[in-house]
Amino acid sequence: MTTCDLEDLGLDEGGHLPLSRALAGVPAGTGVAVRGSHPALALHLGAWCRAKGHRLDSTGGVLRVVRGTADGDRWAGAVRAGDAARPAEHAAPAWGLAARGALVEAGGPPLSVDWVDRDLVWADVAPRLYANASAAQWDPATAVDWTARSDVPPDIEDAVVQVMTYLVENEQAALVIPARLLSRLHPHFREVMQLLAVQVADEARHVEVFTRRALLHREALGRSGAGGRASLQTLVGEHDFTMASFLLSVLGEGTFVDLLRFLNLHAPDAVTADVTRLAARDEARHVAFGVAHTAHVAHTDPSFLGTLRAAVERRHSALAQTAGLNQEVFDSLVLLAAGSWAPSAIKRGWAAVQDLQRGMDEGRRRRLAYIGFPDDEAAEISALHTRNFM
């Protein structure tokens, strides 16, 4: 018979651990002899065995624990929550919050989530993008030299403040949307969940640095136009995972990357150059996932391209009666690129913003083509994109 020698270890100080280990090695109905010098050993054993469904046999002065069936029964219907190495095609809500690949005891409440099918949320690049995102995190306090000397003329500073105000508003939308998606995603798709979580953290940083830059030399922020907010509202209201990812990341953030690079190029000071450069790097990663995921869905189901196009058209008609980008933001972009009020400079600035918009359109068409749209359709869809950029 197996013997478990507890020496002077009491069951009130962890003695059940070696005992449970010994019992795990014998079949139900088999006894394990228990030796030990703890004064309350027999009393403790009686109580412990009763609670655990084992039987204590103390005939002949020998303490013997006969293994019951409860611990085996508890795990009888357990299943693995898929394979740790790769996501399952379908994640069972019954797996709940269990780690992917964990042995899940049957029972317990099912997880209330909407996205349980891999192909509706997945992209093969997600694990790699997450690793890249984790490695690329930066600290707003040290990544930007907030004390850098600045001699930005007051009018140009006003333009910077207005653009930063606009960026904060957009980044807040870009934070809320993945946060909402996260709460409805089965955590079995771990890498997508992690990527969205980092995306939320990225946007939180962007909100911080853009706000800080806006208030660096000013007491108040700029203006928020109703048309811009209406445009963002249509994004926040998008409830489908892929549609939200497509509209926000592929079209919106993709366009935003061009805008941030433009701002970086024309930044009148080091701080503006830093914050736009850092944010653009993060946004490019968000775009990469959006493009890869949307392409994954379209590849699995080519008819989905029609649904995506319909979403853009729907958003376009919802915004047809709004102003889109507010005039103050557009004018500020021109002024930033101009660098001064001289007519010749303004002309240059105007042309630069025209170039920016052309570049944004080309980028959108390229991404749409990658997802699977024919060139002519990609051009049509790109033209329907919101005037608010995001």
Binding site: A40, A70, G77, G107
Partner: protein, 284 residues
């Protein structure tokens, strides 16, 4: 379909979860159960005997009273079921590890902590055991009660926990604690490891049972018992309920484990032979 009406004492909010769950589970087997919750065991027993409920989930003390009342009326109650965890409990008499007390006989003139006035396991049984061991409880030994959850027949372990804390703090010389609570209080730190020593223990006794009233439909009770006995710990629907109720399987009822409590009730006059309450100061 006839409904079996069960009485249970709401000693904890989880009682609602447990019986709602069992009710739903039984419904799936086409058995209709409904339940009434009581704030204490005395009214539950009275209602069982008056036929207002068919079965009662009774404490051992409630069983003793129900049996006495039924027999006084010329009827009988039956212990139909019990949990596997209701069998063979033991209550220990614990002292501080550094105490000079070595045996129960040494308790003369000392302060002994017990549970609530109506706790069979932490008050009535251990005091009866001390009397049998020759400790004069009416004389020099002083019994200090920890009346938490009076009316719940010791289901609320707060009294025992308070006694354990008082023992460690030096306000008691000894405390009466069930084996399960002795282990629990050790694990949770109320009794630090090595802080107490056991100088005596009661013989094994049984705890709760499902008591069928004298007027209950025998076939209905039988079917109810069969269904509960068939509950498996491997059933994921019922396992959380069994965990909450503290059992791994139901067993048939047995009454030989209540003999010591019958004696303890007589000695203390808690109930008379017809089940009338005699305990002084007992207000459930």
């Amino acid at each position: 379909m006839t409904t079996l009406l069960l009485g249970a004492v709401a000693y904890d909010p989880k009682v609602v979860t447990i019986w709602e769950g069992f009710r739903a589970w039984l419904r799936r087997s086409d058995f209709d159960l409904d339940f009434v919750l009581y704030s204490h065991y005395e009214r539950q027993v009275e209602d069982l005997l008056d036929g207002r409920i068919d079965v009662a989930w009774n404490s051992p003390l409630a069983w003793v009273r129900a049996r006495r009342m039924a027999e006084a009326r010329g009827g009988a109650v039956r212990a139909v079921l019990m949990r596997d965890t209701d069998r063979d409990l033991v209550t220990a008499v614990a002292v501080r590890a550094d105490s000079d007390l070595q045996s129960l006989a040494d308790l003369a003139g000392r302060t002994i902590g017990v549970g609530a006035i109506d706790s069979p396991q932490a008050t009535l049984l251990p005091l009866s055991h001390l009397r049998a061991a020759g400790v004069d409880l009416d004389g020099p030994a002083h019994v200090r009660r920890f009346d938490v959850g009076v009316g719940l027949h010791g289901d609320h372990i707060g009294g025992e926990r308070d006694a354990a804390a008082a023992l460690v703090a030096g306000r008691l010389d000894a405390a009466c604690l069930t084996d399960g609570n002795l282990l629990l209080f050790g694990q949770e730190g109320t009794l630090p490891a090595g802080s107490v020593r056991v100088i005596g223990q009661t013989p094994a006794f049984d705890h709760c049972n499902m008591t069928a009233g004298p007027r209950a439909d025998a076939a209905l009770v039988e079917r109810f018992a069969d269904l509960l006995l068939a509950m498996s710990y491997a059933d994921e629907q019922v396992r959380p309920l069994l965990d909450l109720e503290g059992l791994t399987r139901w067993l048939p009822g047995r009454t030989e484990g209540y003999a010591a409590l019958e004696r303890a009730v007589d000695e203390s006059g808690f109930y008379d032979s017809e089940g009338r309450i005699g305990a002084r100061g007992y207000r459930p």
